[in-house]
Protein backbone atom coordinates (compact mmCIF):
# COMPACT_ATOMS: atom_id res chain seq x y z
CA UNK A 1 0.00 0.00 0.00
CA UNK A 2 1.42 3.37 -1.03
CA UNK A 3 -0.21 6.79 -0.65
CA UNK A 4 1.33 9.75 -2.45
CA UNK A 5 0.56 12.91 -0.46
CA UNK A 6 2.03 15.33 -2.98
CA UNK A 7 0.36 14.98 -6.34
CA UNK A 8 -1.10 17.23 -9.01
CA UNK A 9 -3.76 16.89 -11.63
CA UNK A 10 -3.84 18.98 -14.77
CA UNK A 11 -1.48 20.37 -17.39
CA UNK A 12 1.99 21.82 -16.86
CA UNK A 13 3.66 24.48 -18.96
CA UNK A 14 6.80 22.43 -19.66
CA UNK A 15 7.41 20.00 -22.53
CA UNK A 16 5.24 17.21 -21.19
CA UNK A 17 1.84 15.68 -21.89
CA UNK A 18 0.30 14.81 -18.55
CA UNK A 19 -2.90 16.83 -18.46
CA UNK A 20 -5.37 13.99 -18.59
CA UNK A 21 -6.50 12.06 -15.55
CA UNK A 22 -5.32 8.90 -17.29
CA UNK A 23 -1.75 10.19 -16.94
CA UNK A 24 -2.14 10.31 -13.16
CA UNK A 25 -3.41 6.76 -13.01
CA UNK A 26 -0.78 5.44 -15.42
CA UNK A 27 2.04 6.99 -13.41
CA UNK A 28 0.60 5.59 -10.20
CA UNK A 29 0.34 2.15 -11.74
CA UNK A 30 3.95 2.40 -12.94
CA UNK A 31 5.13 2.43 -9.31
CA UNK A 32 2.40 0.61 -7.45
CA UNK A 33 0.95 3.76 -5.90
CA UNK A 34 -2.58 3.08 -4.75
CA UNK A 35 -3.81 6.53 -3.79
CA UNK A 36 -2.68 10.10 -4.38
CA UNK A 37 -3.75 13.39 -2.88
CA UNK A 38 -3.55 15.99 -5.62
CA UNK A 39 -3.98 19.69 -6.17
CA UNK A 40 -5.19 21.18 -9.43
CA UNK A 41 -2.39 22.76 -11.43
CA UNK A 42 -4.66 25.61 -12.51
CA UNK A 43 -5.49 26.21 -8.85
CA UNK A 44 -1.89 26.56 -7.72
CA UNK A 45 -0.46 28.27 -10.81
CA UNK A 46 -3.19 30.69 -11.83
CA UNK A 47 -6.75 30.73 -10.52
CA UNK A 48 -7.46 28.94 -7.24
CA UNK A 49 -11.28 28.95 -7.28
CA UNK A 50 -11.55 27.86 -10.91
CA UNK A 51 -8.83 25.25 -10.50
CA UNK A 52 -10.37 23.85 -7.33
CA UNK A 53 -13.68 23.34 -9.09
CA UNK A 54 -12.05 21.76 -12.11
CA UNK A 55 -10.32 19.34 -9.76
CA UNK A 56 -13.58 18.56 -8.01
CA UNK A 57 -15.05 17.47 -11.33
CA UNK A 58 -12.01 15.32 -12.11
CA UNK A 59 -12.16 13.60 -8.72
CA UNK A 60 -15.63 12.33 -9.56
CA UNK A 61 -14.05 10.05 -12.16
CA UNK A 62 -11.87 7.94 -9.89
CA UNK A 63 -11.63 6.65 -6.33
CA UNK A 64 -7.82 6.70 -6.43
CA UNK A 65 -7.37 10.45 -6.11
CA UNK A 66 -8.22 12.68 -3.19
CA UNK A 67 -8.05 16.44 -3.45
CA UNK A 68 -6.30 19.36 -1.84
CA UNK A 69 -8.14 22.65 -1.83
CA UNK A 70 -5.56 25.13 -3.12
CA UNK A 71 -5.35 28.29 -1.08
CA UNK A 72 -4.05 31.58 -2.42
CA UNK A 73 -3.23 33.65 0.67
CA UNK A 74 -3.88 36.80 -1.33
CA UNK A 75 -7.57 35.88 -1.64
CA UNK A 76 -8.59 34.54 1.74
CA UNK A 77 -12.29 35.12 1.22
CA UNK A 78 -12.19 32.88 -1.86
CA UNK A 79 -10.12 30.37 0.04
CA UNK A 80 -12.51 30.23 2.97
CA UNK A 81 -15.46 29.72 0.64
CA UNK A 82 -13.65 26.94 -1.26
CA UNK A 83 -12.53 25.22 1.92
CA UNK A 84 -15.98 25.21 3.52
CA UNK A 85 -17.61 24.01 0.31
CA UNK A 86 -15.11 21.37 -0.82
CA UNK A 87 -13.91 19.96 2.50
CA UNK A 88 -17.54 19.10 3.16
CA UNK A 89 -17.28 16.54 0.37
CA UNK A 90 -15.50 13.23 0.99
CA UNK A 91 -13.07 13.76 -1.91
CA UNK A 92 -11.16 16.72 -0.47
CA UNK A 93 -9.04 15.97 2.58
CA UNK A 94 -6.59 18.85 2.94
CA UNK A 95 -5.25 22.13 1.62
CA UNK A 96 -2.35 23.08 -0.60
CA UNK A 97 -0.46 26.34 -0.28
CA UNK A 98 2.23 27.16 -2.82
CA UNK A 99 4.23 30.11 -1.60
CA UNK A 100 6.01 30.90 -4.87
CA UNK A 101 3.11 30.88 -7.33
CA UNK A 102 1.07 33.01 -4.94
CA UNK A 103 3.96 35.32 -4.09
CA UNK A 104 3.26 34.67 -0.42
CA UNK A 105 6.26 33.57 1.65
CA UNK A 106 5.48 31.48 4.69
CA UNK A 107 6.50 34.33 6.95
CA UNK A 108 4.24 36.86 5.20
CA UNK A 109 1.19 38.22 7.05
CA UNK A 110 -1.26 36.86 4.49
CA UNK A 111 0.17 33.35 4.70
CA UNK A 112 0.06 33.49 8.49
CA UNK A 113 -3.61 34.36 8.23
CA UNK A 114 -4.20 31.51 5.78
CA UNK A 115 -2.45 29.02 8.03
CA UNK A 116 -4.44 30.29 11.01
CA UNK A 117 -7.66 29.71 9.09
CA UNK A 118 -6.57 26.17 8.20
CA UNK A 119 -5.64 25.47 11.80
CA UNK A 120 -9.09 26.64 12.92
CA UNK A 121 -10.63 24.30 10.34
CA UNK A 122 -8.41 21.43 11.56
CA UNK A 123 -7.35 21.00 7.94
CA UNK A 124 -3.93 19.50 7.17
CA UNK A 125 -1.97 21.66 4.73
CA UNK A 126 0.80 20.85 2.28
CA UNK A 127 3.11 23.85 2.03
CA UNK A 128 5.85 24.32 -0.55
CA UNK A 129 9.17 24.64 1.29
CA UNK A 130 12.68 25.23 0.01
CA UNK A 131 15.94 26.04 1.72
CA UNK A 132 15.43 27.81 5.01
CA UNK A 133 11.72 28.52 4.51
CA UNK A 134 10.86 25.32 6.35
CA UNK A 135 12.02 27.01 9.54
CA UNK A 136 9.30 29.60 9.01
CA UNK A 137 6.80 26.76 8.74
CA UNK A 138 8.07 25.34 12.02
CA UNK A 139 7.57 28.75 13.59
CA UNK A 140 4.02 28.84 12.23
CA UNK A 141 3.36 25.46 13.85
CA UNK A 142 4.69 26.81 17.10
CA UNK A 143 2.48 29.89 16.83
CA UNK A 144 -0.64 27.95 15.82
CA UNK A 145 -1.11 24.97 18.16
CA UNK A 146 -3.74 23.27 15.98
CA UNK A 147 -1.82 23.59 12.72
CA UNK A 148 -0.78 20.33 11.03
CA UNK A 149 1.54 20.98 8.10
CA UNK A 150 3.49 18.99 5.55
CA UNK A 151 6.75 20.54 4.43
CA UNK A 152 6.58 19.91 0.71
CA UNK A 153 9.91 18.71 -0.75
CA UNK A 154 11.31 18.58 2.81
CA UNK A 155 12.87 21.93 1.91
CA UNK A 156 14.75 20.39 -1.06
CA UNK A 157 18.36 21.54 -0.69
CA UNK A 158 17.53 22.71 2.82
CA UNK A 159 16.71 19.23 4.07
CA UNK A 160 18.88 19.64 7.16
CA UNK A 161 16.71 22.60 8.09
CA UNK A 162 13.68 20.38 7.51
CA UNK A 163 15.04 17.86 9.98
CA UNK A 164 15.57 20.65 12.50
CA UNK A 165 12.06 21.94 11.87
CA UNK A 166 10.40 18.54 12.25
CA UNK A 167 12.30 17.87 15.44
CA UNK A 168 10.90 21.09 16.86
CA UNK A 169 7.24 20.18 16.29
CA UNK A 170 5.48 16.83 15.99
CA UNK A 171 2.74 18.42 13.87
CA UNK A 172 5.20 19.09 11.06
CA UNK A 173 5.61 16.31 8.49
CA UNK A 174 8.19 15.82 5.73
CA UNK A 175 7.86 14.33 2.26
CA UNK A 176 10.86 13.77 -0.03
CA UNK A 177 9.84 14.91 -3.52
CA UNK A 178 12.44 16.80 -5.53
CA UNK A 179 13.71 16.48 -9.09
CA UNK A 180 17.28 16.34 -7.79
CA UNK A 181 18.49 13.52 -5.58
CA UNK A 182 21.68 14.23 -3.66
CA UNK A 183 23.10 11.01 -2.27
CA UNK A 184 22.32 10.50 1.38
CA UNK A 185 19.63 13.19 1.61
CA UNK A 186 16.66 10.99 2.42
CA UNK A 187 18.72 8.68 4.62
CA UNK A 188 19.66 11.77 6.61
CA UNK A 189 16.03 12.76 6.92
CA UNK A 190 14.96 9.29 8.06
CA UNK A 191 17.72 9.07 10.62
CA UNK A 192 16.96 12.51 12.01
CA UNK A 193 13.17 12.55 12.23
CA UNK A 194 10.56 10.53 14.13
CA UNK A 195 9.16 8.10 11.57
CA UNK A 196 5.63 9.14 12.55
CA UNK A 197 6.38 12.42 10.76
CA UNK A 198 7.42 10.90 7.42
CA UNK A 199 5.10 10.86 4.42
CA UNK A 200 5.60 9.68 0.85
CA UNK A 201 5.22 12.44 -1.74
CA UNK A 202 6.25 12.54 -5.38
CA UNK A 203 5.14 15.83 -6.99
CA UNK A 204 3.67 13.76 -9.85
CA UNK A 205 2.63 14.48 -12.51
CA UNK A 206 5.24 17.22 -12.63
CA UNK A 207 7.97 14.87 -11.41
CA UNK A 208 7.95 11.14 -12.07
CA UNK A 209 7.62 9.12 -8.85
CA UNK A 210 10.99 7.52 -9.63
CA UNK A 211 12.61 10.55 -8.06
CA UNK A 212 11.05 10.14 -4.62
CA UNK A 213 10.87 6.37 -4.74
CA UNK A 214 14.49 6.09 -5.86
CA UNK A 215 15.51 8.27 -2.94
CA UNK A 216 13.53 6.04 -0.57
CA UNK A 217 15.06 2.88 -2.04
CA UNK A 218 18.53 4.38 -1.89
CA UNK A 219 18.00 5.13 1.79
CA UNK A 220 17.20 1.50 2.49
CA UNK A 221 14.00 2.23 4.41
CA UNK A 222 12.44 -1.01 5.64
CA UNK A 223 10.14 -2.50 8.26
CA UNK A 224 7.75 -0.41 10.31
CA UNK A 225 9.30 2.83 9.10
CA UNK A 226 8.60 1.87 5.50
CA UNK A 227 4.97 1.12 6.36
CA UNK A 228 4.55 4.42 8.17
CA UNK A 229 6.18 6.28 5.29
CA UNK A 230 4.25 4.48 2.59
CA UNK A 231 0.72 4.83 3.93
CA UNK A 232 0.09 4.57 7.65
CA UNK A 233 1.01 8.14 8.57
CA UNK A 234 -0.97 9.52 5.64
CA UNK A 235 -4.01 7.49 6.62
CA UNK A 236 -3.84 8.89 10.14
CA UNK A 237 -3.11 12.48 9.15
CA UNK A 238 -5.88 12.75 6.56
CA UNK A 239 -8.37 10.44 8.23
CA UNK A 240 -8.48 8.14 5.21
CA UNK A 241 -10.12 4.72 5.26
CA UNK A 242 -7.75 1.97 6.35
CA UNK A 243 -7.07 0.69 2.86
CA UNK A 244 -4.60 -1.87 4.10
CA UNK A 245 -7.48 -3.71 5.76
CA UNK A 246 -8.80 -4.92 2.39
CA UNK A 247 -10.54 -1.64 1.67
CA UNK A 248 -8.55 -0.68 -1.42
CA UNK A 249 -9.96 1.55 -4.13
CA UNK A 250 -10.87 -0.03 -7.43
CA UNK A 251 -8.37 0.76 -10.15
CA UNK A 252 -10.60 1.89 -12.99
CA UNK A 253 -12.71 4.96 -13.63
CA UNK A 254 -15.98 5.65 -11.90
CA UNK A 255 -18.93 5.29 -14.19
Amino acid sequence: MIIDVHGHWGPWFFTMEVADLSANLAVMDRYGIDLAIVSGTEAICYDAPAGNRALAAALEQTDRLYGYVSVNPRSLADAERDLRELLATPRFVGAKLHTDYSGSPIASPQTHDALAMLADLDCPVLVHTWGTTVLDLAQACADLPRLRAIAGHAAADGWRHAVEAARSCDRLYLEPSWSHAPAGRFAGIVSGVDDRQLLFGTDATLIDPASAMGAVLGAGVTGETAQRLAWRNATDLFGLPDHDAGNRPHRGYNT
Partner: protein, 241 residues
Protein backbone atom coordinates in the same frame (compact mmCIF):
# COMPACT_ATOMS: atom_id res chain seq x y z
CA UNK B 1 7.62 -4.18 1.23
CA UNK B 2 5.82 -1.21 -0.35
CA UNK B 3 8.93 0.02 -2.17
CA UNK B 4 10.54 -2.36 -4.64
CA UNK B 5 13.87 -1.92 -6.41
CA UNK B 6 14.00 -2.47 -10.16
CA UNK B 7 15.71 -5.41 -11.78
CA UNK B 8 17.84 -3.58 -14.33
CA UNK B 9 21.57 -3.78 -14.95
CA UNK B 10 23.38 -0.63 -15.97
CA UNK B 11 26.17 -1.74 -18.26
CA UNK B 12 27.81 1.69 -18.52
CA UNK B 13 27.14 4.81 -16.44
CA UNK B 14 28.44 7.91 -18.25
CA UNK B 15 28.51 10.20 -15.18
CA UNK B 16 30.65 9.02 -12.27
CA UNK B 17 33.21 10.98 -10.27
CA UNK B 18 36.22 10.23 -8.12
CA UNK B 19 37.57 12.71 -5.63
CA UNK B 20 35.80 15.25 -3.49
CA UNK B 21 34.21 18.68 -3.53
CA UNK B 22 35.94 20.75 -0.84
CA UNK B 23 32.85 22.93 -0.44
CA UNK B 24 30.45 20.03 0.14
CA UNK B 25 30.01 17.14 2.51
CA UNK B 26 31.77 14.01 1.39
CA UNK B 27 29.92 11.30 -0.49
CA UNK B 28 27.99 9.07 1.93
CA UNK B 29 29.33 5.91 0.30
CA UNK B 30 32.30 5.07 -1.90
CA UNK B 31 32.06 5.03 -5.67
CA UNK B 32 32.40 1.26 -5.72
CA UNK B 33 29.74 0.73 -3.06
CA UNK B 34 27.32 3.01 -4.87
CA UNK B 35 27.97 1.24 -8.18
CA UNK B 36 27.36 -2.14 -6.60
CA UNK B 37 24.17 -1.04 -4.88
CA UNK B 38 22.80 0.46 -8.08
CA UNK B 39 23.70 -2.43 -10.36
CA UNK B 40 26.23 -0.41 -12.35
CA UNK B 41 28.71 -2.72 -14.06
CA UNK B 42 31.04 -0.12 -15.58
CA UNK B 43 31.49 3.57 -14.92
CA UNK B 44 32.94 6.35 -17.05
CA UNK B 45 34.93 8.07 -14.32
CA UNK B 46 36.33 11.58 -14.26
CA UNK B 47 38.43 13.19 -11.58
CA UNK B 48 37.32 16.08 -9.39
CA UNK B 49 40.97 16.75 -8.63
CA UNK B 50 41.40 17.45 -12.33
CA UNK B 51 38.29 19.60 -12.44
CA UNK B 52 38.96 21.61 -9.31
CA UNK B 53 42.71 21.74 -8.75
CA UNK B 54 45.31 20.12 -11.00
CA UNK B 55 44.41 18.71 -14.38
CA UNK B 56 47.37 16.45 -15.01
CA UNK B 57 47.62 14.75 -11.62
CA UNK B 58 43.84 14.47 -11.51
CA UNK B 59 43.63 12.81 -14.87
CA UNK B 60 46.47 10.52 -13.86
CA UNK B 61 44.33 9.57 -10.86
CA UNK B 62 41.50 8.60 -13.22
CA UNK B 63 43.85 6.71 -15.50
CA UNK B 64 45.24 4.79 -12.55
CA UNK B 65 41.72 3.72 -11.57
CA UNK B 66 41.14 2.04 -14.95
CA UNK B 67 39.94 -1.52 -14.73
CA UNK B 68 37.09 -3.82 -15.72
CA UNK B 69 34.57 -1.59 -13.97
CA UNK B 70 36.21 1.81 -14.52
CA UNK B 71 36.67 3.58 -17.84
CA UNK B 72 38.75 6.72 -17.28
CA UNK B 73 37.45 9.98 -18.73
CA UNK B 74 39.70 12.99 -19.10
CA UNK B 75 38.98 16.43 -17.72
CA UNK B 76 40.33 19.82 -18.70
CA UNK B 77 40.28 23.18 -16.99
CA UNK B 78 38.47 25.76 -19.07
CA UNK B 79 40.07 28.50 -17.00
CA UNK B 80 43.29 27.62 -18.85
CA UNK B 81 42.33 26.89 -22.45
CA UNK B 82 45.95 26.81 -23.62
CA UNK B 83 46.79 24.18 -21.04
CA UNK B 84 43.53 22.42 -21.84
CA UNK B 85 44.53 22.01 -25.46
CA UNK B 86 47.84 20.47 -24.37
CA UNK B 87 46.03 18.16 -21.98
CA UNK B 88 43.66 16.98 -24.70
CA UNK B 89 46.65 15.86 -26.76
CA UNK B 90 48.11 14.08 -23.72
CA UNK B 91 44.82 12.36 -22.97
CA UNK B 92 44.56 11.07 -26.51
CA UNK B 93 48.07 9.69 -26.26
CA UNK B 94 46.92 7.73 -23.20
CA UNK B 95 43.97 6.27 -25.05
CA UNK B 96 41.31 8.24 -23.22
CA UNK B 97 37.99 7.99 -25.05
CA UNK B 98 36.20 11.17 -23.98
CA UNK B 99 36.72 14.47 -22.24
CA UNK B 100 34.51 15.94 -19.55
CA UNK B 101 33.91 19.65 -18.99
CA UNK B 102 32.98 21.18 -15.61
CA UNK B 103 31.78 24.67 -16.49
CA UNK B 104 29.78 25.24 -13.33
CA UNK B 105 32.55 24.10 -11.03
CA UNK B 106 35.03 26.27 -12.96
CA UNK B 107 32.64 29.25 -13.24
CA UNK B 108 32.70 29.21 -17.03
CA UNK B 109 30.01 30.80 -19.18
CA UNK B 110 29.11 29.24 -22.54
CA UNK B 111 30.27 32.28 -24.53
CA UNK B 112 33.77 32.24 -23.07
CA UNK B 113 36.25 31.59 -25.92
CA UNK B 114 37.70 28.61 -24.07
CA UNK B 115 34.53 26.53 -24.48
CA UNK B 116 34.33 26.92 -28.24
CA UNK B 117 38.08 26.32 -28.60
CA UNK B 118 37.97 23.09 -26.62
CA UNK B 119 34.82 21.97 -28.42
CA UNK B 120 36.65 22.36 -31.75
CA UNK B 121 39.84 20.71 -30.55
CA UNK B 122 38.10 17.74 -28.95
CA UNK B 123 35.98 17.19 -32.03
CA UNK B 124 39.03 17.38 -34.28
CA UNK B 125 40.67 14.75 -32.08
CA UNK B 126 37.60 12.52 -32.30
CA UNK B 127 36.79 12.86 -28.60
CA UNK B 128 33.21 12.91 -27.44
CA UNK B 129 32.57 15.68 -24.93
CA UNK B 130 30.63 15.16 -21.71
CA UNK B 131 29.61 18.54 -20.40
CA UNK B 132 27.78 19.96 -17.45
CA UNK B 133 25.94 23.25 -17.56
CA UNK B 134 22.52 24.47 -18.62
CA UNK B 135 21.77 22.89 -21.99
CA UNK B 136 19.80 25.97 -23.03
CA UNK B 137 23.06 27.89 -23.12
CA UNK B 138 25.81 25.28 -23.49
CA UNK B 139 24.49 23.90 -26.77
CA UNK B 140 25.79 26.92 -28.63
CA UNK B 141 29.60 26.47 -28.39
CA UNK B 142 29.18 22.93 -29.76
CA UNK B 143 26.91 23.82 -32.66
CA UNK B 144 27.93 23.41 -36.28
CA UNK B 145 31.01 21.31 -35.48
CA UNK B 146 29.59 17.80 -35.94
CA UNK B 147 30.54 17.39 -32.30
CA UNK B 148 29.54 14.39 -30.26
CA UNK B 149 28.29 15.75 -26.95
CA UNK B 150 26.49 14.37 -23.94
CA UNK B 151 24.79 17.08 -21.91
CA UNK B 152 25.01 15.83 -18.36
CA UNK B 153 22.69 18.31 -16.67
CA UNK B 154 19.64 18.36 -18.95
CA UNK B 155 16.70 18.95 -16.64
CA UNK B 156 13.25 17.98 -17.82
CA UNK B 157 12.23 21.61 -17.45
CA UNK B 158 14.58 22.31 -20.37
CA UNK B 159 13.77 19.25 -22.43
CA UNK B 160 12.06 21.19 -25.20
CA UNK B 161 15.15 23.28 -25.80
CA UNK B 162 17.32 20.18 -26.00
CA UNK B 163 14.96 18.63 -28.52
CA UNK B 164 15.00 21.78 -30.64
CA UNK B 165 18.79 21.92 -30.90
CA UNK B 166 19.08 18.15 -31.30
CA UNK B 167 17.11 18.38 -34.53
CA UNK B 168 20.09 20.02 -36.23
CA UNK B 169 22.83 18.26 -34.27
CA UNK B 170 22.88 14.50 -34.67
CA UNK B 171 25.79 14.26 -32.26
CA UNK B 172 23.90 15.83 -29.37
CA UNK B 173 22.90 13.42 -26.62
CA UNK B 174 21.56 13.83 -23.12
CA UNK B 175 22.10 12.13 -19.82
CA UNK B 176 19.00 10.65 -18.24
CA UNK B 177 19.93 11.84 -14.74
CA UNK B 178 17.44 14.72 -14.50
CA UNK B 179 14.95 13.60 -17.14
CA UNK B 180 12.58 12.49 -14.44
CA UNK B 181 9.24 13.82 -15.54
CA UNK B 182 6.60 11.19 -16.33
CA UNK B 183 7.27 11.28 -20.09
CA UNK B 184 10.70 12.84 -20.68
CA UNK B 185 12.50 9.65 -21.73
CA UNK B 186 9.59 8.64 -23.92
CA UNK B 187 9.45 12.09 -25.50
CA UNK B 188 13.15 12.04 -26.41
CA UNK B 189 12.76 8.56 -27.86
CA UNK B 190 9.76 9.64 -29.94
CA UNK B 191 11.18 12.93 -31.17
CA UNK B 192 14.93 12.31 -31.46
CA UNK B 193 15.36 8.57 -31.00
CA UNK B 194 16.33 6.52 -27.97
CA UNK B 195 19.88 6.55 -29.28
CA UNK B 196 20.20 10.09 -27.92
CA UNK B 197 19.67 8.94 -24.33
CA UNK B 198 22.63 7.95 -22.17
CA UNK B 199 22.34 6.70 -18.62
CA UNK B 200 24.10 8.95 -16.13
CA UNK B 201 23.84 8.98 -12.34
CA UNK B 202 26.62 11.14 -10.87
CA UNK B 203 27.67 8.44 -8.46
CA UNK B 204 28.64 8.88 -5.64
CA UNK B 205 27.17 12.38 -5.21
CA UNK B 206 23.65 11.69 -6.45
CA UNK B 207 21.28 8.79 -5.82
CA UNK B 208 21.67 6.36 -8.76
CA UNK B 209 18.46 4.52 -7.93
CA UNK B 210 16.48 7.47 -9.29
CA UNK B 211 17.53 7.32 -12.97
CA UNK B 212 17.77 3.53 -12.77
CA UNK B 213 14.19 3.21 -11.52
CA UNK B 214 12.96 5.78 -14.02
CA UNK B 215 14.55 3.88 -16.91
CA UNK B 216 13.40 0.49 -15.67
CA UNK B 217 9.79 1.66 -15.42
CA UNK B 218 9.86 3.67 -18.64
CA UNK B 219 7.69 3.06 -21.64
CA UNK B 220 10.68 2.34 -23.86
CA UNK B 221 10.89 -1.04 -25.53
CA UNK B 222 13.33 -3.50 -23.90
CA UNK B 223 16.03 -3.12 -26.53
CA UNK B 224 15.94 0.65 -26.12
CA UNK B 225 16.14 0.33 -22.35
CA UNK B 226 19.24 -1.83 -22.75
CA UNK B 227 20.74 0.71 -25.14
CA UNK B 228 20.13 3.60 -22.76
CA UNK B 229 21.50 1.54 -19.87
CA UNK B 230 24.88 1.33 -21.55
CA UNK B 231 24.78 0.41 -25.21
CA UNK B 232 24.48 3.97 -26.42
CA UNK B 233 27.37 5.12 -24.23
CA UNK B 234 29.52 2.27 -25.43
CA UNK B 235 28.82 3.26 -29.02
CA UNK B 236 29.74 6.89 -28.35
CA UNK B 237 32.97 5.89 -26.66
CA UNK B 238 33.95 3.48 -29.40
CA UNK B 239 33.62 0.36 -27.30
CA UNK B 240 32.29 -2.97 -28.52
CA UNK B 241 28.51 -3.08 -28.14
Amino acid sequence: MPFEAPDLSITLDIDVLIGAYPDRDGAPVSMQAAMHAAGVATAAVASLRAALFDVQSGNDEALAAAGPDVLPIGAVDLRDPIGAERELDRLVSHGVRAVRLFPEEQHIEPDFPSVRAIAKRATALGLPVLTGGDVRRFWRPFSGLDAVVVFLDTHFYHLGDFLIVARDEPGFHTSTRLLNSPDALETVAAQAGAGRLVFGSRIPYAEPMVPRLRLARSGLVPQDIAAVAGGNARRLLGLAT
